[in-house]
């Protein structure tokens, strides 16, 4: 039942992303708070609702973005997938797994966005896009990973108190 925290938490993340995080740009890129939050959540022990969170997040974000919902859904689902794949392989270094998921997730998300915008005819030079948007966004997402992982670990302990006791 405590999983319902996803609704206010993701809602707040989308609002913060749109109102604040997108104002702090490095070159032309900025951090993706929702993506990093999803990655941090999916990497927590005992989490079985990461795909549900990704679905909810993609609906919420696409509501305020010009990009269609299926791009966000594909991107966020791939983030959760990476997290589930890496969770068991690098379980001894959760922060390393977090960095890896944030890195791969950002790359996939940007490739999907780039591909879609190229298909609909937006003139986006690949070199400029990589250098001015993707690389700065990667750096910002990795920086954001550290505090968000700790925060989501606390949320996971609150949602799954039985795991902490065990």
């Amino acid at each position: 039942m405590r999983n319902i925290i996803a609704l206010p938490l993701l809602g707040l993340a989308v609002i913060l992303q749109s109102a604040i995080v997108s104002q702090f740009s490095l070159l032309a890129g900025y951090a993706d708070l929702v993506l990093v939050l999803l990655a941090a959540w999916a990497l927590q022990d005992g989490v079985t609702t990461a795909f549900h969170w990704a679905f909810l997040a993609s609906i919420m974000v696409s509501f305020s973005s010009h990009l269609p919902w299926f791009i966000y859904m594909a991107g966020y689902f791939s983030v959760v997938l990476f997290a589930l794949l890496l969770q068991r392989r690098v379980w001894q270094a959760p922060l390393l797994a977090m960095f890896s998921v944030a890195f791969l997730g950002t790359l996939v998300m940007h490739l999907l966005s780039y591909g879609y915008l190229r298909i609909v005819g937006d003139p986006l030079p690949f070199r400029d896009t990589m250098g001015l948007i993707t690389l700065p966004s990667l750096l910002l997402n990795l920086l954001l990973s550290i505090p968000l992982y700790g925060f989501m670990r606390d949320v996971a302990r609150w949602v799954f108190p039985s795991l902490e006791e065990a």
Partner: protein, 281 residues
Amino acid sequence: MKDLFSRTLQTTIIFLVIGGILALSFGGFFSSITNRFTGGFVSTQEWFATRYQAIQEFLAAPRDIVSLRTRNTELQKQVSDLQAQVINLQQRVNETEILAALVDFSRTNPENSYKAASVIGRDPSPFLHYIIINRGSNDGILRGMPVVTSEGLVGRVDAVIADAARVQLITDPASSVNVHLKNADTDAMLVGSVTGDISLDLISQDATIQPGDLILTSGLGGGFPPDLIIGQVVNVQKRAAELFQRSTVQPAVDFSRLQIVLVIINFRAVDIAPLVPTTTP
């Protein structure tokens, strides 16, 4: 009788002795002795007085500390309240200045009707240059309406919901605006980019463009009303091998600091897509 005389004599002698001692002491003849006596007295009194004051302070001080701490807390709360008020008023002053500029702008352009809106967000994707405003269809906002500030053109409404709308900025890579260069008296196309810079394309090779030339909307295509300020030409790239000249543009609007914008609500964008000829096989 003899006893009475002797007692009187004794008393007289005692008074004379005391009077003499007093006279000698007032005359300063016993100053060393009186100094020792008064010095000892004063130091003893001082010792008692300081101890008494210390005890009094010890007993009274806790009450003072509590009251002072209470007072300090009250004053700190007042200070924080006043600081919040100062920040709030400063914000209102800034908003008032922006609104005053917008009112001036709307008065100088009476042919248009405006609806003021606050910028409440930006597109979550860094690939896109869109803003979100707090006015929607409930306020008469429709898709395609131009958005301006007192400085110039901002963009056009891309999507609308009841209480909010998304605006595509002219800096967006997918944005294109038909413009007119006033000094050169020629038309061109303004396009955005991923970096948020804007540039001019499709400028005729015959046109003479100078840095500083004013760029206005031309109104062609029906997407924007004519004569809205966009910016100035920064430099011109003219190559003989190319069909058109290009130019970088300094926008009149600072897109990173957009707070309040005006939506031109009496302008209906015309969709000319059906009129554009298509190539037949």
